[in-house]
Symmetry: C2
Subunit: 332 residues, 2 copies
């Protein structure tokens, strides 16, 4: 019996499929009608997914007795329904696949926030034609050179952010679960390390996966530790930050800025609709979770997903295996 | 007879004035009434100015027979009325004084433009809550790593921009009048060099002074040489770019972006009012000439102006002497 693999995303192109076909019988969800697809599920050994496919309900997953491997094309796996998966199923994230594009986007948000680019552009666009009226705003602008950049999470994206921060002359302090070493970067560990990072950094970039242990990790207590004029950049997932606490922190600290590419989940989906009127605040800067899409356009995420699946198919240890316990019973 | 110096800006603080007093009798325009000020003019040997003082009209300048030295606290000297100055007057710019703050601002504009930060933020702020509607926009976003950054003008600010560009992994090509060398930077010279830079760069930063030879240096012909999706950053002076040609270029090339901190002069003053509705274009990004103000807050420009004036007073060759011919008869 050959290994049966379902590719549930059009992002894996012909060439990738051909490479996979040397080790498995490869099916494409977009090439099968619903009946055939459902009939195939119990025979499948592995899956490559992007967004979680709607047809893979808990009920249908229960029928997939042979399933042992899932490769995500997204870097995060918080969209995977771990509760409905047999614990023998190995789930792999796609860490590193988007590091360049997402890391650059984090720097773009940091630079834009530090110089209040969007806020000033908006005022000019609305017809404020008096140059002198902006003079006071210079006091709110932050010079990045010499300031401390705290990087929370040192995976592929965190590393890229740390490298870019050090390159432009910032002092970089990174929080990591694992012991790490990197040129121009200091590391801290554990709860005390994170607290120190939040208290001492001029800018903080969030680049951790959303999991049980990170959901809501920045609440009222943590935000209140931060400097009044801190810039908080979220390049990972909206739900790392407690929305209500954030809203109150930004209202209270006019000089603090929250700059994000990631938004909160509502009913299982990320949405630009917020529970509090964050986008109306002058110190909130948002982009529409677009950095990963730029990475996708490079083709690299799908390529790396294929590479890692090939490792699994050839009996090698796949990369980026996620710890199931960190994602069980998580409110998505 | 002691040397008489008039400090015509409050930016030079007590400590700076004390240092100057060791070599000259120092007057402050804000400490003198109009009558005394006018009586003093014929006796003055030197001046430190920020914006050009209103009382220094052509008529009053004609009375200043002893004047031999003017130090600008602004980096540019296009505000100095060279036509009304005796040719024996040495005029010094303040090159280098704002390099850090203005260089970082240039990078902030470049990053913001490359990721369309302000454009997307604005759409979200206007209530566009549909994440999916932004998917197509990813194609318009530019990854900076590996792309070519053309730096036009390699003074203090140009050098800082080149350093930052190389640090984030861009290939840097700089246009300079003088032969230069710098790690990670290639140089080009002359009209052919500039043309090659414009044709081959993915992003161009303007960091030249506004003078006879640079006013309107980017007109229809030069803009049409540039890549369709080029990002043009102006961190120097609005009038380097022909406003009408720019408007037409941006209308024609939806993927090109013009990101500027500098605005055009009208009746001798820089203003956010434009002759063409540039700020309404989605590919125009503007900040209110604020980068220099951030530099001013550091106190460094006034300090460096004092340092250079001290060099002159002590008989040393002052730095940043400008070539008078480049500023004569210039439409300001």
């Amino acid at each position: 019996m050959p290994h049966k693999l379902l590719v549930a995303s059009e992002l894996v192109k012909q060439e990738g499929r051909r490479r996979l076909e040397r080790y498995a019988e490869v099916f494409s969800s977009d090439g099968l009608d619903r009946e055939k697809l459902l009939a195939l599920l119990p025979e499948l050994d592995s899956l490559i997914v992007f967004f979680w496919p709607k047809f893979l309900t808990a009920e249908n997953l229960a029928k997939m007795k042979k399933l042992r491997f899932i490769q995500s094309i997204l870097v995060g796996v918080n969209h995977v329904p771990f509760e409905a998966l047999d614990e023998r199923v190995v789930v792999c994230s796609n860490a590193g696949a988007y590091s360049l594009e997402v890391g650059e986007h984090a720097m773009a948000l940091l630079f834009a926030a530090s110089k209040r680019i969007a806020e000033h552009h908006l005022r000019i666009r609305e017809g404020n034609a008096d140059l002198a009226s902006f003079a006071g705003a210079a006091k709110e602008m932050v010079v990045l050179e010499g300031k401390q950049l705290g990087v929370v999470g040192y995976g592929g994206i965190g590393r890229k952010v740390g490298d870019l921060g050090a390159a432009i002359g910032m002092r970089v302090l990174a929080y990591s679960r694992r012991r790490q070493k990197a040129r121009g970067v200091k590391f801290c560990y554990g709860a005390a390390g994170l607290e120190n990072l939040l208290r001492s950094s001029d800018a903080v970039v969030l680049s951790v996966p959303l999991s049980n242990s990170t959901s809501g990790m920045l609440g009222e207590r943590e935000l209140s530790m931060m400097k009044e004029e801190a810039i908080l950049v979220n390049i990972a997932r909206g739900d790392l930050v407690d929305q209500r606490a954030l809203y109150e922190w930004l209202k209270r600290n006019r000089r603090a800025v929250y700059a994000t590419d990631a938004w909160w989940f509502r009913e299982g989906h990320e949405t630009l609709s917020t529970d509090y009127p964050l986008p109306s605040l002058p110190n909130f800067l948002g982009t529409p979770h677009i950095s990963g899409l730029v990475g996708l356009l490079s083709g690299r995420p799908a390529e790396l997903a294929v590479e890692n699946t090939l490792r699994y198919l050839r009996g090698m240890k796949p990369r980026n295996v996620v710890r199931r316990a960190e994602y069980l019973s998580q409110a998505r």
